[in-house]
């Protein structure tokens, strides 16, 4: 968005004020940060610090400038086009309405420094979600989740992003093991209750030496009539090692990391695309 070649309307507006600071305390540089702006793109105030006191100072500055700003400088000369965003919302439009949407949280066993957990989402289309259990789910039935789905978890979701977004996902050849077995433990009416058990191992040597080898355990409930999960929880725990790309990991020593997948809600914030959805092959 901050790149000069991007001519989307939101990017053009953003670049009018990006990288500017009116409160320099704790400035991290670049365009990341907090901005108070008028709809016209007029900068009111800006800072780039995780310190809440700096943020409050910036917001007070912004409100004061807003109050003093004449109306013609507050607003765009013509109303922004709501349809313009359709040009750049290709990933959002992949949201699997009738599928399985999971919230993914990662955290180290030993907490080093804040922030020490991160959040992403994992998406499965309706047919992919159905493939988590056997075609005829009867109590005791065991079923191997299709390898391509487990590999997708291992490649794009079982990642070390505890401290920050990790641009190093695992290529196919890095996946040494990827197995997830569901077992039907009960059927009551339309509800099929499952346990989940499995393991993965991903190991990359070049360009980064990095890996993760977790055990997987979980439980879920699938509504056969509605063809959707009404409960889902999968926990991955194992050793991670190595450093990532931009993920703020400074110590490559192997250590335990846990990742939990739970059903996401349907608020706008819960519909954000997975970081690597463009690699899903959808």
């Amino acid at each position: 968005m901050q790149k000069e070649y991007c001519q989307d309307e939101d990017a053009l507006l953003f670049r009018k004020f990006a990288k500017q600071r009116t409160v320099a305390k704790g400035n991290r540089g670049g365009a990341q940060g907090h901005y108070a702006v008028a709809p016209s793109g007029e900068l009111l105030a800006a800072s780039s610090s995780a310190n809440p006191e700096v943020l409050v100072e910036m917001m007070k500055q912004g409100l004061a400038k807003w109050e003093a700003l004449p109306r013609e400088k507050r607003l765009l000369s013509k109303s922004p086009d709501p349809k313009a965003s359709e040009n750049w919302r290709l990933q959002e439009n992949l949201y699997p309405d009738n599928g399985l949407v999971l919230r993914v949280v990662a955290r180290d066993r030993t907490r080093e420094r804040w922030p020490d957990s991160n959040l992403d989402y994992a998406w499965f289309r309706k047919d992919e979600a159905r493939a988590f259990l056997s075609a005829e789910p009867k109590t005791g039935a065991k079923h191997n989740v299709p390898p391509e789905l487990v590999q997708r978890l291992a490649r794009f979701h079982l990642l070390d992003n505890v401290h920050a977004l990790n641009y190093t996902f695992f290529p196919k050849e890095a996946i040494e093991r990827a197995r997830l077995t569901s077992t039907v433990v009960g059927v009551v009416g339309d509800l099929v209750t499952l346990t989940l058990e499995g393991e993965t191992r991903a190991s990359l040597v070049s360009p980064k030496k990095i890996g993760y080898e977790p055990k997987l355990l979980g439980r879920a409930t699938f509504n056969i009539k509605e063809q959707k999960f009404v409960a889902f929880e999968l926990l991955a725990v194992g050793m991670r090692w190595g450093l990532g790309n931009c993920n703020q990991r400074h110590d490559p020593t192997p250590a335990l990391m846990g990742i939990v997948f739970t059903l996401a809600g349907d608020s706008p914030a819960e519909r954000l695309p997975p970081a690597f959805v463009s690699r899903y092959g959808w």
Partner: protein, 91 residues
Amino acid sequence: MAFLRTLTLIVGIILASIILPSNVAADDFQEGELTQANYTKWREHVLPRNWELSYRKIPWRMSFWDAVIEAQAREKPILLWAMNGHPLCNT
């Protein structure tokens, strides 16, 4: 929108402060491998606490453009939180 737009944005019409924690809870278990016995402990350890999710209670708009449209109509200022990744997901 291109994959992982270099900068993803979220915005709020409401200006609000975020209280950051001064410390975190100590790790109080030592089990390594995941088992049925330590499943709940691990689960509770990894899942976010309420205070960690407090910033999500702010009614953020998911994109800068959404906020520009609304702010223009309501004649309000915008608070924009811009990060690599998305502040509400994988930042």
